[in-house]
């Protein structure tokens, strides 16, 4: 299958390994990856902060590039960006027919694998104790709960553990992490502690922003584990 790839701004800049692993994984599975280089950012930071006028041109650039990619589906290694494209793009650009077209074929990575490609075992091997952190948008906007867990459970050598108490926000919240840094840190510290208590070596998530938030806090606690994107685990053989 031809799969378009949307690498959002912060993945490109701060966590490129999530994108790289996504490419390696999909190619191993026999698909052709077409990187939509012109899609820089979906516009979510400005949209969430209420500055829709600033978000619009950024979103337009993004969907122009995604729409131009000839692909059967578009994958994004970020649940919040995929959720944004599906839930809010139409509201932001109501007169743009490309918005609906792009939304219809854009998937977060776990979604693509589990729902669109109906895969559970992607042939990965990753011996480690892993705790999955549900990113809020992936969980609530995309309904992604069982799928990543099934994918990880099928990875050879991987021991999947759960944080007690269920899903909780990491506290990042986009611009919130800057405007309300103190509160963002307090929320994140609590989540980081809960994940650390599981004894996992690895924290995995669909969203690099959650991973960066949690990793940054855990580093201060002297945690020696790793915070990895779903793609990085599934790409390992």
């Amino acid at each position: 299958m031809r799969i378009g790839l949307f690498v959002p701004c912060f993945v490109d800049a701060l966590c490129p390994r999530a994108g790289i692993a996504t490419v390696r994984l999909l190619e191993r599975l026999g698909h052709e990856v077409r990187f939509a280089a012109g899609a820089v950012c979906c516009g979510q930071p400005a949209f969430n902060a209420g500055h829709w006028d600033l978000a619009r041109p950024v979103a337009e650039t993004c969907i122009a590039a995604l729409d131009a990619v000839e692909a059967d589906a578009i994958v994004c290694p970020s649940g919040s960006c995929a959720a944004f494209l599906r839930s809010h793009l139409a509201e932001l650009l109501p007169d743009d027919p490309r918005a609906a077209a792009v939304a219809a074929k854009t998937f977060e990575l776990g979604e693509l694998l589990a729902r669109r490609l109906a895969l559970t075992d992607v042939g990965a091997r990753f011996p480690a104790r892993v705790v999955w952190h549900d990113a809020c948008h992936a969980l609530r906007a995309l309904g992604l709960h069982d799928e990543p867990r099934r994918l990880l459970a099928a990875v050879r050598g991987l021991e999947l553990v759960e944080a007690p108490g269920g899903a909780e926000c990491c506290g990042f919240g986009g611009v919130f992490a800057v405007t309300h840094a103190d509160v963002s840190t307090a929320i994140g510290e609590e989540r980081a502690a809960a994940l650390e208590r599981t004894g996992a070596d690895v924290i995995a998530s669909s969203d690099p922003t959650c991973l960066m938030q949690l990793a940054g806090l855990l580093a201060r606690r002297g945690w020696r584990g790793r915070a990895l994107h779903l793609a990085e685990i599934l790409a390992e053989t």
């Binding site: 690498v7 701004c9 490109d12 800049a13 701060l14 966590c15 490129p16 994108g19 790289i20 490419v23 990187f35 280089a37 012109g38 820089v40 950012c41 516009g43 930071p45 400005a46 949209f47 969430n48 902060a49 209420g50 500055h51 829709w52 600033l54 978000a55 041109p57 950024v58 650039t61 809020c136 948008h137 609530r140 108490g165 909780e168 926000c169 506290g171 990042f172 919240g173 986009g174 611009v175 919130f176 800057v178 405007t179 309300h180 840094a181 103190d182 509160v183 840190t185 307090a186 929320i187 994140g188 510290e189 609590e190 960066m212 938030q213 990793a215 940054g216 806090l217 580093a219 201060r220």
Partner: protein
């Protein structure tokens, strides 16, 4: 808004965890919560669409049974109405059951200024009243306090020995308030629902203090926002369990009481006078905004506060408002327009947990986004940063240049409690380009 100190956060965390467990257990046991939520959303939307007729029907039915219905445009009018009733009753004290509306209008301080002493009888409200604090949560007002905090207050203010257990402290409060119910000529309550069909108010509680406040004093005044009206008595069979499970994780609270007027001739006891004050105080502003109108569905269960990671991190007092948490953040900028609460919708990670727990189906996450939009200021640091961001993210070329610049600049921002991510030496784009053209 700042995070609360670790001790307070622990206290709040424990209270919320207990609520979470109870609520999940009860929700799973018998309730088809999703169905209930959809049903309540439809009922509330319908009630608001028919609000003028329903309020008039409520007034008609209530008046037919001897209730005097008053209408207050704002807090000042509401206070004046209550004061007038209090003065005519000759009351020197007023026993109160929990009412967020009376907090909203600042009734207690006002009554005290005019020589009438209000006595809170709900245990949590009684505690914060003794401490001279506002409630920190719309349902559990003293959730920010430990038993030691409360014990110290009871020791200082009531002479109770320190170190009491919750049982002992509760017994002390019961004893302290007992005579007050009988001694007071005036009872003041809120109302969880106004039933238009029968002209009754409905009060949901666990302690029994509202029942006593509406049984013993000679005069009863109930205050309620105009949005509290529902059409029929039978709808309570749906509202009451949804309120209970969301508020406290119970199927029903211990007492769900309908009051339909002053005592009837064939009844053994009850007040001789019954008043209901219908309060606007900015609610018509919310109503007029067709998109924000759904926030008036709120039945004040407090679930969104408990689910909110921001509320848990900062505590109720940090909001500085009568209504805290997600619902408080979306209604306060309207109810108290131009009073500087426009920043509240920004105090959220938009995690969406509030939507999941709301029993009446308010899309709180969407309301928070809307609230930000209408308050996005033309100037300010946030806009400047976002302008820079939008410029850089507007084209691939500019983006690559921005990354190159970020790598070159000696910017090494430091945060005190976490490591901040650094710009990667090689971006994904660069990796891809190298791959395509080795």
């Amino acid at each position: 808004m700042k995070a609360a100190d670790p001790r307070l956060r622990r206290v709040i965390g424990k209270a919320v965890a207990s609520w979470g467990e109870q609520t999940a257990r009860t929700r799973a046991r018998f309730l088809d919560f999703a169905w209930g939520r959809a049903a309540l959303r439809a009922r509330k939307a319908d009630a608001l669409a028919r609000l003028p007729g329903l309020l008039e029907e409520f007034e008609r039915q209530a008046a037919a049974r001897g209730t005097r219905v008053h209408w207050a445009q704002d807090a000042a009018e509401a206070r004046a109405i209550v004061l007038e009733v209090a003065r005519r009753s000759g009351a020197r004290t007023a026993v109160k059951s929990k009412s967020m509306v009376t907090e909203e209008i600042g009734l207690n301080a006002f009554l005290e200024e005019h020589g009438i002493r209000p006595v809170e009888t709900d245990l949590g409200e009684f505690i914060v009243q003794l401490r001279g604090e506002p409630p920190s949560h719309i349902v559990t007002p003293a959730m920010h306090l430990t038993r030691e905090d409360i014990g110290r207050t009871f020791h200082e203010r009531l002479g109770v020995p320190e170190g009491g257990s919750p049982e002992e402290l509760t017994a002390a409060a019961r004893a302290a308030l007992r005579t007050g119910f009988r001694a007071s000529d005036l009872g003041i309550t809120g109302a969880n629902f106004l039933v238009a069909e029968t002209g009754m108010i409905a009060i949901t509680e666990n302690e029994g203090n509202a029942r006593l406040v509406t049984a013993l004093p000679r005069v009863h005044v109930a205050l309620a926002g105009i949005e509290k009206v529902i059409a029929t008595l039978d709808e309570l069979a749906l509202f009451l369990p949804m309120l209970a499970v969301s508020g406290t994780g119970q199927q029903l609270t211990a007492y769900n009481t309908l009051i339909g007027g002053p005592r009837a001739a064939d009844e053994a006891d009850g007040p001789e006078e019954c008043h209901v004050v219908l309060l606007d105080n900015g609610r018509t502003r919310l109503l007029a905004d067709a998109d924000a109108r759904e926030t008036l569905h709120c039945i004040r269960c407090g679930a969104c506060l408990n689910a909110c990671p921001v509320f848990r991190a900062v505590g109720g007092h940090a909001y500085g408002t009568t209504y805290q948490g997600p619902i408080g953040s979306v209604i306060t900028p309207h109810l108290r327009a131009s009073e500087g609460f426009g920043h509240l919708p920004s105090a959220s990670t938009l995690c969406g947990a509030c939507n999941e727990v709301c029993p009446v189906g308010i899309d709180l996450q969407r309301q928070l986004l809307r609230g930000r939009r209408s308050r996005a200021r033309a100037g300010g640091l946030e806009r400047l940063l976002l302008r820079l961001w939008a410029f850089a993210a507007g084209s691939e070329r500019r983006w690559r240049a921005a990354l190159a610049l970020a790598r070159w600049l000696p910017l090494r921002p430091r945060a005190s409690r976490r490591d901040l991510p650094q710009v990667a030496p090689e971006s994904f784009r660069t990796w891809w380009r190298k791959r395509e053209r080795p």
